[in-house]
C-alpha cells in the first residue's frame, strides 16, 4: 500500500519509475515529485507505470495537474507501460484522448 518513486534525470529528460499503489495516501507525494520536473522548461518527463498495480482518481488528478504544468512550462509528459486495469480508468474518464499514453510492454515499439 505504498508507492516507491524513483527519478532518473538526464539532459532535458526525466524518467520517473513508479512502483506500488497510487491512492489518496500516496498521490500527494507523487505530485510533489512530479510537478517540479514538468516545471522545468523544455523538459521531457516520462512516467513508467509498469509496476503500478492500483490507481484511482487521486492519481488521475496528479497527472492532470502535471499535464497542465507542461502547457505552462513548454515541457512534455508521457505515461508508459500502463497496466490494463489502470489504463481502463484513463479510458473511462476520456483522459486517454487527452494525454500521451503508451500501454505497450517494455521494449516493444508501437
Amino acid at each position: 500500500m505504498n508507492l516507491v518513486i524513483d527519478v532518473v534525470e538526464e539532459n532535458n529528460k526525466s524518467v520517473v519509475n513508479l512502483s506500488g499503489e497510487i491512492d489518496a495516501y500516496t498521490a500527494p507525494n507523487l505530485k510533489e515529485s512530479l510537478l517540479p520536473l514538468t516545471q522545468k522548461e523544455g523538459n521531457a518527463v516520462e512516467v513508467d507505470l509498469g509496476n503500478v498495480n492500483y490507481m484511482d482518481s487521486t492519481g488521475l488528478g496528479v497527472f492532470i495537474s502535471a499535464l497542465k504544468s507542461t502547457k505552462e512550462n513548454d515541457s512534455k509528459l508521457k505515461l508508459v507501460n500502463i497496466q490494463d486495469r489502470v489504463l481502463r480508468l484513463f479510458k473511462i474518464t476520456g483522459l486517454d484522448e487527452i494525454m500521451d499514453l503508451n500501454s505497450t510492454i517494455r521494449g516493444v515499439t508501437e
Binding site: 489518496a24 495516501y25 500527494p28 492532470i64 499535464l67 497542465k68 480508468l89 473511462i92
Partner: protein, 158 residues
Amino acid sequence: MEKFDFIEMKVPAKPEYVGVIRLSISGIANRMGFSYEDIEDLKVAISEAITNAVTHAYHENDEGEVTVGFAVYENRLEVMVADHGGSFNLNEIKDGIGPYKDTESVENLREGGFGLFLINTLMDKVQINNNYGVIILMTKYLNETEVDLDDDQISTTQ
C-alpha cells in the same frame, strides 16, 4: 427477510486507511467469488467513496471517523460508506463529474471530482444520502444478469 452477513469497520478519516479498507473489500469479494475484474472495480469504487469522505468531510477536523459496512448477500455485495462529519454540496459535486471530451482545453481540465463518476460507472447501483453527513450506498452483483429481478433492496439499509 433476505439473509445476509454484515461486516462493519470504523477507520480514522485519514488517507492512510483507504488502502486498509481496499484490502478488506478485496478479501470479502474474493470470498464471495467475484471475478478479478469485479474485485478491481470494487477496490476503486470503495477507495473513491472513502477518499471523498476523508477529503470533503474532515479537512477542518482530524478527529473524524469513516464507517464502512459490507452486507454480503448470496447474489450481491452492498457497501455503505458513511461519514458523520460536515456534509458537502452534492449538487455542486454532481455538476462537476463526467468523462472528458477531447474538445476540452487542457487548462480547463478538472483535477478532481471524478470520484463519484467512477463509483457510478464501476458499480451496478449507487445511492447517496446527504441528509446527515454523507452516506454512499453501492451495490455490485455477483452475476450482472440478475440485476433487474428484485430492485428494492437498497432501502433496507436506511
